[in-house]
């Protein structure tokens, strides 16, 4: 990276299963207010550029990007929207800083999932209208297909996937920034209503409302603004083919390539040794295992065994989704990556509360844009007093 940069402000609001009575604008305003206060800046004067993530169909308003400036302090300022995951917007913020266009950038993502009355029907609109929609399958059937192939190709088992659900929902019990904390037995999970076999109803993350805002600053500003800047050491993003007929179903190729980009930037060659923890996408139970392997954190086919051996548990050698992940915290549409980023930044600041890990210095955050996409992002973060 040509320019060093850090996350200097963090704000989140209303992480709940639904948020009746407040509008998405009021939700975003609350998170933004907290983030600017955390960074100690006035957005009207000190933020050079604003980026929001949203998808028109989730919002129910087309050309939604025009609706974001006021509640972010971005009226009559440079602002744009990324129709993608929050970490794609973070990458845009990093590029604005690297190119010298901006020194301070605010990135926002939100979920007002509870505004949707027919979320599965809306999700269905993401499928090819000629080839796939007429088949009439529920959008989550793709997860069933992917899970089946992943388990077929690897040493991982249905039980391993169940253990992911158990771990993450238990982790969330300790995290106040979560919705779905629960102490389930493995049997509860395996016996749950089958939905898209081999997947059961508990293998899918449930939606939540909430808003997340982060403030990114170039090095010279970051040091003055924050006593605990969290440095962005690398970032990458990648999309595989959208073709459901020919994508790689067994492995998450997008995550592998996004990680290569981020690792190259951060000069990481042995991820499991050089990183201390990870917050990775677990929108479906098997995804956590598939992603850990794609990220080269554990050997191919070994993610389930690592979990069983306790390595990815909170007290293990390489904790994964200590926050509870999407299975425990919730699924926040395009803001999901920013939820994971928030948790990782809190860890590196030592502000994660009851889910705080001891002595963590470097962490990885990975996002996936959920079904039917093959888009993923990876960000490497480092604590202020970490290796230069």
């Amino acid at each position: 990276m040509s320019e060093r940069m850090a996350i200097v402000g963090l704000g989140y609001a209303d992480i709940r299963s639904c948020t009746p009575g407040i509008s998405y604008k009021e939700l975003m305003y609350e998170a933004a207010t907290r983030a600017y206060d955390d960074a100690g800046i006035n957005p009207r004067k000190q933020v050079d550029s604003f980026i929001s993530v949203s998808e028109d169909f989730w919002e129910g308003t087309s050309i939604f990007d025009e609706y974001v400036p006021d509640q972010l302090g971005a009226a009559l300022r440079p602002v744009h929207t990324v129709c993608g995951d929050g970490l794609q917007a973070l990458s845009c913020a990093a590029m604005l800083i690297e190119t010298g266009q901006a020194q301070i950038v605010a990135v926002e993502g939100h979920s007002k999932h509870s505004d949707m009355c027919t979320p599965h029907h809306i999700h269905q609109l993401a499928f090819d209208p000629i080839y796939h929609r007429p088949l009439g399958a529920h959008p989550q059937h793709l997860a069933g297909l992917e899970m089946a192939r992943f388990l077929h190709e690897s040493e991982n088992t249905r039980e391993h996937c169940g253990l992911v659900v158990q771990k993450n929902r238990r982790n969330a019990l300790k995290n106040p920034r979560s919705v779905y904390g629960s102490d389930l037995s493995l049997q509860d999970i395996l016996d749950a209503e089958p939905t898209f076999t081999p997947m059961g109803v508990l293998d899918a993350a449930q939606p939540a409302d909430g808003a997340f805002v982060v403030v990114v600053a170039a090095e010279r500003r970051a040091k003055a603004l924050s006593t605990h800047p969290v440095w962005i050491r690398g970032y990458g993003w990648c999309t595989e083919t959208p073709a459901v007929d020919s994508r790689s179903w067994g492995e998450a190729a997008y995550a592998r390539l996004a990680a290569h980009q981020a690792y190259r930037m951060a000069k990481i060659t042995a991820p499991a040794r050089e990183l201390d923890f990870a917050e990775v996408d677990d929108s479906f139970s098997y995804k956590e295992l598939q992603h850990l392997e794609a990220l080269d954190i554990c050997p191919q086919g070994a993610a389930g065994a690592w979990l069983q051996a306790g390595i990815t548990q909170t007290g293990g050698e390489f904790p994964v989704n200590v926050s509870g992940g999407s299975l425990g915290v919730g699924y926040f549409l395009e803001a999901s990556g920013l939820m994971r980023l928030t948790e990782a930044v809190l860890q590196l600041r030592g502000q994660a509360g009851a889910v705080q890990l001891p002595a963590v210095r470097r962490g990885l955050v990975q996002s996936w844009r959920n079904l039917p996409t093959t888009t993923g992002c990876v960000v490497i973060l480092e604590r202020a007093d970490g290796r230069e």
């Binding site: 948020t19 509008s23 207010t33 302090g73 505004d115």
Partner: protein, 171 residues
């Protein structure tokens, strides 16, 4: 080059080919249904419309009265301070004579959307609504207008609780 081609190859597609299924067609009716939370500010605004009143929020830092109301000031980026009732009269800031409706139906009686600066709110603060009881050629920028409310029993907490705005002379 194309000028020299007198007869294009191929068979033209006619509407009947689509209607009679001679070519592949896909019909799909989206069920995209939402129940948006209006939020604190707009919910109160709509409630007040039902009661036949216009309400705004004030920001004491920039000393503005904002309508439609919002819980934060986009200029100062701080919470707004209090609720303020404003008048149901105002001034036409801009208007258009629309001969075509949203669904492209031509209109005998043109529709007259206008931005109305509301009396009692800050300069530049207004609402987009419709003008009525006025001939299109008589509308002008700067014209004073007054809200014509729907009958109280028929109001439903919607922007259509005001039927339209009509020309008005200050007494």
């Amino acid at each position: 080059m194309t000028v020299n081609i007198k007869q294009w190859p191929g068979t033209a597609l006619a509407t009947r080919d689509l209607e009679q299924g001679h070519v592949l067609t896909v019909k799909y009716k989206p069920r995209a249904e939402y129940a948006w939370d209006a939020g604190v500010a707009i919910a109160r605004y709509l409630e007040e419309l039902k009661a036949g009143r216009l309400i705004a929020r004030s920001c004491k830092q920039c000393d503005r009265i904002l309508i439609p109301p919002r819980m934060f000031c986009e200029e100062c980026f701080r919470p707004t301070d209090s609720w303020v009732y404003v008048e149901d009269t105002g001034t036409v800031n801009t208007f258009s004579i629309c001969h075509v409706r949203w669904d492209v139906v031509r209109l005998d009686q043109p529709q007259l959307p206008a931005v109305i600066h509301v009396d009692g709110a800050s300069p530049g603060m207004g609402i987009l609504h419709l003008l009525g009881e006025v001939a299109p050629e008589e509308v002008y920028i700067g014209m004073k207008v007054k809200a014509v409310w729907e009958e109280a029993s028929r109001r439903q907490g919607s922007i259509t609780d005001i039927r339209h705005w009509k020309p008005w002379k200050e007494e």
